[in-house]
């Protein structure tokens, strides 16, 4: 009888532990991300502006020096879903805890498969700017990504200018899909996250094309 009582108490304790885990996962992680976003916003505001004056051919769109892991790189805004966050460099676990991550090229600090062999693409450039973000944990920045409709604006504010993209298409793919890995000649932005909400069974991908620079 005593063993049954102890086992019952053990199960109750484990249940409380599971509730603690859920509380941390769904809300606690968001507090960490909010604190990191506040710091990143300050760091981003302090970065010097990059001049892109001159002929279009001479335009240098991109940061002056390759940013390191988790450095703030640009601000992403989606007015239709009330989204405004600082994007960090890198899509590793630690990077995405701080905010949406920009897919980097494979260089010092970034290892495959969390980087691309292609040349890194920055907002305003031809090619695909790829941004990944959490859907459920760490503030769930891309929680409402499924609400974006064709024509909605995706605005990137960088230190070399502001670039507006327009949503063209939304796709749901399997986790091993290579849909975003293919580079493009067009100036596009690709946002990716887990799908459906509270699950990692699929990936949601939103495509946008550059409309104004």
């Amino acid at each position: 009888m005593r063993a049954v009582r102890i086992f019952g108490k053990f199960l109750i304790s484990v249940g409380v532990g599971v509730l603690m885990f859920l509380g941390w996962t769904l809300w606690g992680t968001g507090l960490y991300t909010q604190q990191q976003q506040d710091e990143l916003r300050t760091q981003f505001d302090q970065l010097p502006a990059i001049s892109i004056e001159g002929d279009d051919d001479e335009r240098k769109l991109g940061p002056a020096n390759p940013p390191g892991p988790s450095d703030p790189v640009f601000v992403l805004k989606m007015p239709s879903i009330d989204f405004d966050q600082v994007v960090v460099e890198g899509v590793g676990t630690e990077d995405l805890k701080k905010g949406p991550g920009h897919y980097p090229s494979c260089r010092s600090g970034f290892e495959r498969p969390l980087c691309t062999e292609f040349e890194e693409v920055w907002p305003g450039q031809e090619g695909r700017v790829i941004v990944s973000g959490h859907r459920t944990t760490y503030g769930a920045p891309f929680f409402d990504l499924d609400k974006l409709k064709p024509g909605d604006e995706i605005i990137t504010q960088t230190k070399w200018g502001e670039f507006t993209y327009e949503v063209t298409e939304t796709r749901i793919v399997q986790p091993d899909s290579l849909a975003i890995a293919i580079q493009s000649d067009a100036a596009e932005i690709v946002l990716t996250t887990c799908n459906p909400k509270y699950s990692a069974a699929q990936r949601l991908i939103v495509f946008g094309r550059l409309v104004t620079t």
Binding site: G17, M20, W24, L114, T136, C194
Partner: protein, 38 residues
């Protein structure tokens, strides 16, 4: 036999530690098993 309040409090603390340990293990497992953008 009636237990003292210290004994009951000690037991409660022990079960609280079990709950915290469960939560910590689940957080560690979730970070290992879930994709980075979950």
């Amino acid at each position: 036999m009636k237990r003292s309040w210290k004994s009951r409090l000690g037991e409660l603390f022990l079960w609280f530690l079990v709950a915290v340990a469960t939560a910590v293990v689940m957080v560690m497992l979730s970070e290992e098993l879930l994709p980075a953008n979950f």
